[in-house]
């Protein structure tokens, strides 16, 4: 592990009781939901992780505790280092503070996570759906949301599907 990265992860471990894990030379820190803003502020101000590459969530349904893992991909331009921060969240109405004050680019990322997973962000300036239509119900990327596929038309069921399909009339 790079020396700077080692120093950063050690500091976060001490101050915030986070855990460190490593896989194929990629380091990830696991912290609690309410600490995420301070952790990221510390990483940005003290250790130079100035860019939020991406932010996403992973759904582990049917496991309920934790159900979601929020993944923050941080990048340091000066030191050329990557760091992943993971936040485990409970499945019942998940919410955590927004990262907009630390990284402005988190705005649209968090809107997308709200749209796709239903994770609320407290303090977000503009939490509304971004990719789905505004009146859509449900959060598509959750594992209990169906893929919504249409049955494939083969020659044996062609006529049945043809009768059911909503063709547009003029």
């Amino acid at each position: 592990m790079d020396a700077h990265l080692q120093a950063a992860t050690q500091a976060i471990q001490e101050r915030f009781a986070g855990q460190v894990s490593e896989f194929r030379d990629q380091i990830s820190l696991i912290v609690a939901p309410q600490q995420i803003v301070e952790v990221c502020r510390a990483l940005k101000d003290d250790f130079g992780f100035d860019m939020l590459s991406g932010e996403t969530a992973v759904d582990y349904w049917p496991a309920q505790e934790p159900r979601f893992h929020l993944v923050y991909l941080l990048y340091s331009l000066q030191h050329n280092l990557r760091l992943t921060v993971r936040v485990p969240l409970n499945g019942n109405s998940p919410s955590l503070p927004t990262l907009e004050s630390v990284y402005p680019s988190a705005n649209w990322h968090e809107r997308e996570i709200w749209d796709m997973f239903g994770v609320r962000f407290e303090g977000h300036s503009d939490l509304r759906r971004i990719l789905m239509p505004a009146d859509w119900e449900g959060h598509p990327l959750r594992k209990d949301y169906p893929l919504g596929y249409e049955e494939v038309q083969f020659s044996f069921n062609y006529d049945e599907i043809d009768a059911r399909k909503p063709y547009a009339k003029e």
Binding site: F23, R24, Q26, S28, D50, M51, L52, S53, G54, T56, V58, D59, V71, L73, L77, N80, R82, T84, Y103, P104, S105, N107, W108, E112, S125, D126, R128, R129, I130, L131, M132, P133, A134, D135, P140, L141, Y145, L147, P166, A168
Partner: protein
């Protein structure tokens, strides 16, 4: 299906200024179907006469649910869907997805495959920049540049079709290497292209770079400062035009990029003209990289030997029992990846394209998150457009170089 939902002003109150609510300024919809929005992007403009007070992008009109759909397919079958994300950088999308799989399952790639991957990725970068240049110039009313760019692009599409069988969505790069080796006429065709292309770049520059109309429409339009670019997570030519010399091909090299000698073009002005200059210089650097990769092209296999992930050649199926078993397992179930996560990023023509891939010990990925550059880069459009005219907005959308497939996934 024919009802539209209206978003009332109440829901957008927090985004528009006070003058809009009083009725002092006009709220204009630059709708999803518009010749200059490069796809289905909806912009809600708050205008005071002709100048833009605020611009609120509304995306999602091309949302395809690719991430969820990839969770329902095996790793190799999901590679087909990766082409359709950033449809101007299809080879690059395949590349980053295969790099992520290879990192996750720890699969090696032979050097010949890496070199061919680099050649095709750089040719794809040239093709993508040509479409950007053609449409950007077309929006600024330089129509002949559009025709010239597409003439060159056809040559690149012929090369990709020669290797992969399809002009745009070839899915040529597979986990472990390539689909098949390049045909015999590949090298000559690429050399022929490299011989004529630098003169063509000079042709485009002769038409645009010193053109007073083009300069008037692009200089000092959409100035992005260095701090803003870093704060908003901007990557790619947009970042390099604001003075940050950062390119993932040099910073975190992949696929053997460290062997090749090339420069990172940077400008400091941060306006539309600077972004144009950066991309034009990138065309020349890509030609350099392809030339070096082609000269150093090693001989050897194009696929890894690891039969657990890469199918054996069909000639072996008649003689070897293990080959038959591997083929059977790969075709019926597919290979499995460990329950862990990796994040791999490459430099696409638009910026940092990254894949966060998480497996679950099964043949299908648990989560594929695409960190797409256009999604992040589009966030600065409101920032860039404040105080400019509606006509400049067209130049700004072109200069940020968004591809809606990337934004909406």
């Amino acid at each position: 299906m024919s009802e539209t939902t209206e978003i009332t002003l109440n829901e957008l109150r927090h985004l528009v200024s006070e003058r809009a609510i009083e009725g002092d300024t006009v709220l204009l919809n630059m709708g999803p179907q518009h010749p200059s929005t490069h796809g289905v992007l909806r912009l809600l403009l708050e205008l005071d006469g002709e100048s833009v007070i605020n611009c609120i992008p509304d995306v999602g009109f091309l949302h395809t649910g690719i991430e969820k759909n990839m969770e329902a397919k095996t790793y190799v079958k999901a590679a087909v869907m990766t082409d359709r994300l950033d449809y101007l950088n299809t080879v690059g999308n395949n590349l980053v997805y295969c790099l992520a799989i290879e990192k996750l399952v720890d699969l090696d790639v032979p050097p010949r495959a890496q070199a061919i991957r680099v050649i095709l990725t750089e040719l794809q970068r040239i093709a993508s920049h040509l479409v950007w240049l053609g449409t950007h110039a077309l929006d600024l009313a330089a129509m002949s540049v559009f025709l010239y760019c597409f003439r060159e692009r056809e040559k690149i599409l012929d090369i990709i079709e020669m290797c992969g069988g399809q002009r745009m969505m070839a899915t040529y790069i597979r986990p472990g290497g390539l689909w098949r080796d390049v045909p015999v006429e590949f090298e000559d065709t690429v050399r022929q292209f490299l011989k004529i292309f630098p003169a063509r770049i000079d042709e485009y520059e002769a038409l645009l770079t010193k053109n007073p109309i083009f300069q008037d429409r692009t200089k000092k339009i959409g100035v992005l400062s260095r701090q803003d670019a870093i704060r908003w997570g901007i990557t790619g030519p947009t970042l390099r035009a604001s003075g940050v010399a950062h390119d993932l091909r040099k910073a975190q090299p992949y696929c053997g990029y460290e062997q090749y000698d090339f420069d990172i073009p940077t400008q400091t002005a941060g306006d539309t003209y600077a972004r144009y200059q950066v991309r034009m210089e990138e065309l020349r650097q890509s030609v350099r990289i392809v030339q070096q990769a082609l000269d150093k092209l090693p001989l050897g296999p194009v696929n890894s030997n690891n039969r657990k992930y890469v199918p054996p050649p069909r000639s072996e199926l008649g003689t070897s029992m293990e080959a038959l078993i591997h083929h059977f397992k790969l075709w019926t179930e597919g290979f499995s990846a460990p329950a862990a996560a990796v994040y791999v990023a490459v430099e696409s023509p638009r910026g940092e394209l990254g894949v966060y891939l998480e497996g679950n010990d099964g043949p299908k990925p648990h989560r594929v998150y695409w960190r797409t550059p256009s999604f992040v880069n589009l966030q600065i459009l409101p920032l860039l457009s404040k105080g400019h005219l509606v006509a400049d907005l067209v130049a700004l959308i072109g200069t940020v170089d968004i591809v809606l497939g990337d934004v909406d996934r």
